[in-house]
């Protein structure tokens, strides 16, 4: 007996149909991906490397403190030293574009899933599917639709990185203390307001962990993206594999590690009280509170009348 389910044929005809009917959409998407990527790469690649490094280090100082800033400088100098700086800026551009797109899809989707059980029931298995299907497999239709280059790299990275963002956002929103949400309702806040003022702020640590995961997964996809001509560090790794150049492979690979550590520490610091920025903010809040207190005391004196002020009487 010849038992054969023609899934492959179905998929082929499905994608052929999609390609035939939505070709225009893919062109637009491709232009968008490429445009965003080029813009970001331009930002990183145009100034001399040392300027970019110092700017990133300064940002690191604001976000986490001087230790991290020094780490950033040393790490990125290493990347420059092994001749991977140009590749690294390409990769950074690709990762940030893919992660940005993943975030703006994942967070609203996660919120929607948190608010609606039906959506949640559909989204969960879908995310499982996207995350477990080998990345190479959906690279094939991506290649078919977008051709060689950055665009299939972005789309493959985007899909792969989406899942944790959606999951952690949903988990975070659902995990907000129901009594606090009830408090919002009990005082007559609209659902939108509750979302903005209660649910999102309280779910922030979880959402931030989701964003962190998105960026990490995006970075882990760069090698695969390199295979389809997205270039960057992944491109060199792919080159090293095909020509068995261990040294080149490690140089590119270690550069990926450096980028990964820097991006992880950056996103991991969001929402935590670290670095100069939060210190400044804390100081400003305290100053504001002190001003307010002083104003109140002044008002009290005025309330009591001028005769209570020293020197105002006869």
């Amino acid at each position: 007996m010849d038992f054969r389910i023609p899934v492959g044929d179905w998929i082929d005809s499905l994608f052929k149909w999609i390609g035939a009917h939505f070709g225009g959409l893919f062109d637009v998407l491709k232009a968008l991906f490429v445009g965003l990527n080029d813009a970001l790469v331009w930002v990183f690649a145009t100034p001399p490397a040392i300027v970019v490094i110092l700017v990133i280090a300064a940002a690191g100082y604001l976000a986490r403190g001087w230790r991290f800033a020094i780490g950033v400088v040393l790490g990125l100098l290493f990347v420059v030293g092994v001749g991977q700086w140009d590749n690294a800026t390409d990769t950074l551009g690709l990762v940030l574009v893919a992660a940005f797109l993943a975030i703006i899809i994942a967070i609203p989707l996660g919120i929607w899933a948190a608010k609606n059980d039906t959506v949640s029931k559909v989204v969960k298995p879908l995310m499982d599917f996207l995350q477990t299907l080998p990345a190479f497999v959906y690279l094939i239709p991506a290649l078919a639709f977008f051709g060689i280059g950055v665009a299939p790299g972005v789309i493959a990275t985007l899909i792969f990185a989406l899942a944790p963002g959606v999951r952690l956002t949903e988990l975070g929103i659902r995990g907000v203390d129901s009594e606090v949400v009830e408090a919002g309702q009990a005082f007559g806040a609209s659902p939108r307001r509750i979302l903005r003022q209660i649910q999102i702020p309280l779910a922030m640590p979880s959402i931030m962990a989701g964003i962190n995961q998105i960026i990490m997964l995006a970075l882990s996809m760069v090698v695969i993206a390199g295979l389809v001509g997205a270039g960057g560090l992944g491109g060199d790794v792919a080159k090293a594999i095909s020509s068995l150049r261990t040294g080149l492979g490690f140089e590119a690979g270690l550069s990926v590690v450096v980028l990964a550590i820097i991006l992880d520490r950056f996103t991991g610091s969001f929402g935590q009280d670290m670095g100069l920025y939060s210190k400044l903010r804390g100081r400003r809040n305290k100053a504001k509170a002190a001003d307010e207190q002083a104003r109140l005391e002044a008002e009290e004196i005025i309330d009591k009348g001028p005769w209570l002020m020293p020197g105002a009487g006869r």
Binding site: E179, V180, A186, F187, G188, R193
Partner: protein, 430 residues
């Protein structure tokens, strides 16, 4: 308190699960909670009125449906059947936007675990309801500061909830609810998460605020002592039904069924019951106009060693001992006044039992109880006081009265002698 109804609930049902309406129909036809299949009835046929300025306590154990009930009063849980009116305005069957408007302006809530916004300072938490009402930042902060001061948190405005103790956090919760200036305040186990000393303090503060601001409060608790302490009236819930509504004394002295009776067994009666709930009619009182002779006769007939003296309008004057009156009779005095002692130690009729023990010990007679106009309304013998704490108000019926009045023979002799003339009486007595 006046008789305006602030909150009116009529035939409220809340059934969770499928076929809720069928379940309500079955319950209306007398089915029990277990007979309605897969659906869960949390509240069954709850009807009550809460008057303006009243503290209405809903009391029940966990699972009795009290938390669901209070959430139906502001629509957090939509009712399956029945109606709720706040200030004459129905909150059931209105649109979501109208319901939000009612919540903003008519009814606010205090939560068991405070439910503060952890990312906002105390003052911004207190101002939260006002922010939703749409007040400008300056206005709402000004009002929030006032309320923060009233609840005793002045100086803590810029702190965050995590920097406050539980009691202080709940004060923020209370201030947040008070700031909106709604007529009705719902308090869901508001003090249950606090430790006992703080809880007591908060209860006192709530009563104080209540007397100042005159809010209508619906208070949920599982703690009967708290219910008795705070409540003007109490609704006792069991398995989703309200089994009794009444004043604390009603509930304590006339439990509607065995369940309530068991429940109230553990109550500290001495704090709930007041003098007028345990006092007895005085066995006999002497009018201040009557002479020693009549007084002594009365005391002999009633087997009393002493008695209270009152005016015609029952205003308490003092008390007399039979020995002193006997002396007067023997001397042939016609006026009782010199024998009257004024240190009667009477207590007001609304004194709680806990405060009666020392006065009863000090009083020579069963303790006198007077009303606002100082009229004698009853007496409390020591045995009655003890019996009332045991929960059996009638146990003292057989208890013996105060012992050792003068021997009747002696009294009779004196009275007879006085009938013959003052001089002989005096002689014989010597």
């Amino acid at each position: 308190m006046n008789d305006n109804i602030a909150l009116h609930a009529q035939g409220l049902y809340k059934v969770f699960g499928r076929h809720a309406d069928d379940a309500v129909e079955k319950l209306r036809n007398g089915a029990t909670r277990d007979e309605i299949g897969s659906a869960t009835a949390a509240v069954i046929d709850a009807s009550f009125d809460v008057h303006d300025g009243e503290i209405f306590v809903v009391m029940g154990l966990s699972g009795s449906g009290k938390s669901t009930l209070i959430r139906m009063l502001n629509g957090l849980h939509p009712q399956t059947a029945g109606t709720v009116e706040i200030g004459g305005e129905s909150i059931t069957g209105v649109s979501a936007a109208e319901l939000r408007e009612i919540r903003r302006t008519k009814v606010s809530m205090v939560f068991q675990h405070f439910a503060l916004l952890p990312h906002r300072s105390v003052i911004d938490n207190v101002a939260y309801g006002l922010e939703i009402q749409g007040l400008s930042r300056a206005d709402r902060l000004e009002r929030a500061r006032k309320i923060t001061k009233i609840v005793g948190l002045a100086g803590w405005e810029e702190k965050y909830p995590s920097e406050l103790s539980g009691g202080m956090q709940q004060r923020v919760g209370l201030a947040r609810a008070l700031a909106t200036d709604t007529e009705v305040l719902l308090m869901d186990e508001a003090f249950s998460a606090l430790d006992p000393l703080i809880r007591r303090e908060m209860q006192d503060q709530l009563l104080e605020l209540q007397s100042e601001l005159g809010k209508t409060i619906v208070f949920i608790t599982h703690d009967l002592n708290e219910a008795m302490y705070l409540g003007d009236r109490i609704a006792v819930m069991r398995d989703g039904r309200i089994v009794q509504i009444g004043t604390p004394e009603d509930i304590l002295t006339n439990p509607a069924n065995e369940y309530v009776e068991q429940f109230v067994q553990d109550v500290d009666r001495s704090r709930v019951l007041t003098a007028d709930s345990v006092m007895r009619k005085p066995r006999a009182v002497i009018h201040d106009g009557s002479g020693p002779h009549a007084a002594l006769t009365l005391m002999r007939d009633e087997q009393l060693s002493a008695a209270y003296v009152v005016k015609r309008d029952r205003t308490l004057v003092g008390w007399v001992r039979d020995r002193d009156v006997l002396d007067l009779v023997r001397k042939g005095e016609r006026d009782l006044t010199s024998a009257i002692q004024t240190n009667h130690g009477a207590v007001s009729h609304d004194t709680s039992l806990a405060d009666l023990f020392i006065p009863t010990l000090e009083a020579a007679l069963p303790l006198a109880v007077h009303d606002e106009r100082n009229r004698l309304v009853g007496v409390i013998p020591r045995v009655t006081l003890l019996a009332s704490l045991g929960g059996e108000p009638d146990a003292d019926a057989s208890a013996s009265p105060r012992p050792d009045p003068l021997p009747t023979a002696v009294v009779d002799k004196a009275l007879d002698a006085s009938d013959e003339g003052p001089s002989t009486t005096a002689k014989e007595a010597r």
